[in-house]
Assembly symmetry: C2
Homo-oligomer: 350 residues x 2
């Protein structure tokens, strides 16, 4: 097949990890006889520096004209004092929103070869395989009114029935195709928005009779996620809770650098590792490219419907990890490589 894919390297380690993942996409295209047109565009701090805007119109237009977008990371101390609409993060948030992306899928698997790299005991994590579905287009991130002054600041947490229903359906469908368990995480004992969330999840449940639904409060779930991760299959939650819980879940996998994500809901999917721009190690060939490479695999699966190719790329990552190869964030592995060398190894394993 032919496909147009936009690459948004962004800031910090973004360019390095996107470069490796893009090379993996090219290798997959070659191996399976596809033509992927990969084109770069500016986002985040890099875009602010070049154009004053963290999401230039040209970038958005290019994303909208492609089938999928692969992003590195945005942000860094260089732009911390910029006004809100000139901050790298606001470019990413506008992109998510402009593309109509409301469901952010964050799979967390524990790779057997990495159990030694984890702060957790292998008895606890072994076999963990969960999928966090984070609502991405609503909640505190976008809620109006929002205001800031020296004396008082306000954010607003709104949720509509539609916003909740559409992301919940994604989670129910995923659960039905997986191990048929869905836990919805909220703070319904305190927040009205969570009460509505819980009510709608309960209303939808009868339409998915094979799925067993439970509810958890976000505070106690933050503990359960670490103490009994194998009990969970699909985890559905709102925007900010999902942000916190998915980074927390990286503890299970052993490193933030391993985890991919897919943002779905509109005609164009957005794929990005869950790690940030890590300015402290940027440009040093030290970042783990696996989160971005696995995001590229999700891109193959969800935006291009190339399941075989997605599995092939994931299997290549698996084999390389199993062989004891990784970057330095994966403490327990025998062979430590730089970003480029690890990317190269994964491409060879395809």
């Amino acid at each position: 097949m032919e496909a147009r894919i936009t690459l948004l390297p962004g800031d910090g380690v973004g360019p390095e990890v996107v470069h490796e993942a893009a090379a993996c996409l090219t290798a997959v295209a070659k191996a399976y006889g596809h033509r992927f047109h990969l084109e770069e565009a500016l986002i985040g701090g890099a875009a602010v520096d070049a154009t004053g805007d963290p999401l230039p119109a040209a970038t958005l237009a290019r994303c909208q004209a492609s089938q999928a977008v692969l992003l590195g990371a945005v942000g860094g101390p260089a732009w911390d004092r910029h006004p809100r609409d000139q901050r790298p993060e606001s470019g990413l948030l506008r992109l998510r929103r402009s593309l109509g992306l409301y469901a952010n899928l964050r799979p967390v698997k524990v790779h057997p070869a990495l159990e030694d790299a984890s702060p957790l005991r292998p008895e606890v994590t072994h076999g963990t395989d969960l999928m966090i579905v984070r609502e991405l287009g609503g909640g505190l991130y976008f809620g109006e009114p929002r205001s800031f002054s020296d004396e008082r600041a306000v954010n607003t947490l709104p949720y509509t029935r539609t916003e909740i229903e559409q992301v919940a359906r994604v989670a129910f469908e995923l659960a039905a195709s997986r191990r048929r368990r869905l836990v919805s995480v909220d703070k319904a004992n305190v927040l009205e928005t969570s009460r509505l969330w819980r009510q709608i999840v309960d209303e939808l449940a009868p339409s998915y009779p094979t799925v067993q639904v439970t509810h958890a409060y976000v505070d106690s779930f933050a503990m359960a996620l670490i103490t009994r991760p194998r009990d969970f299959d699909v985890v559905l939650t709102e925007n900010l809770f999902g942000d916190i819980l998915s980074d927390e879940a990286a503890v299970l996998a052993g490193s933030l650098g391993l985890l991919p994500s897919a943002s779905l809901g509109g005609p164009v999917g957005l794929y990005e590792p869950i790690h940030g721009s890590a300015p402290d190690i940027a440009g040093r060939d030290a970042a783990n490219p696996i989160g971005t490479i696995l995001s590229a695999a999700m891109l193959l699966r969800h935006s291009l419907r190339l399941e075989t190719e997605a599995l092939a790329l994931e299997a290549a990552v698996d084999r390389v990890l199993k062989g004891g190869h990784g970057t330095s964030d994966l403490g327990g592995l025998k062979h430590q490589h730089g970003t480029r060398a690890l990317g190269e190894r994964i491409r060879e394993a395809i």
Copy 2:
């Protein structure tokens, strides 16, 4: 000394754990020649069932007329469908607010005897000793407007300079008296309220020149808390983030049942374990009383200024744990006891 202490057993396991902690207070009083007047009052679901109100006026009046309040837990499925102002949790929130409590101290220590009960490797947790300072009187828990309908719900996250300053000062002072490190946790890359939070913390920092201040985003902090807990001393954060992070931190200690808290800011302090009402094990003599007993120790320290007595009670808990005695939530221990028997052992060790 003479002191009036109000006991609020509440729901679920609340009465069982408060009973043990109250008996410890009585034992301390006897050993050190004090007179504590302990009087019970209704709160939460128990109060709803008896009076229709989760915080009856008589309860609030009694709390206000005492030096300190020791609470068990509130809530449970029996009251889940009640309207908001008749839910057990809203009684607790009104109590915190009415008493003017804005700083919730949640210490997390890893006891050497419990390292085997933890899902984490001892290399990671050994020696952890941190203090979470959670803002308790503002933010999403209390923000107006709040609304609920079948189609849309709204919560509001407001913070004023005063609210932030007063809790931040508590955290700075604690840090100055401890290991002089303060990490303030926010989501300043997205939320205006967090930007104000960060700004005010930075403004206060020069007044506490011995304290080294850093900032972290709540998502990446949720991971760091587990992977490198020893790097932290005092953790300052807003209401909801503190709720999530302190339950998460219980992973470090090995059980939610171990962790105490103190809520300060007004003339009367409120002390409660961080665990919930655990309706599934209520009435079975299975709950861990240690979180409540250590809350009673914090009561001695912060409300009655009886530091020696507080240390004595904490040392008694330490000795009992060291001897391998605990409840069944502490999997790694040799001797497993019921709630009452463990409470009794701790009293004997005073």
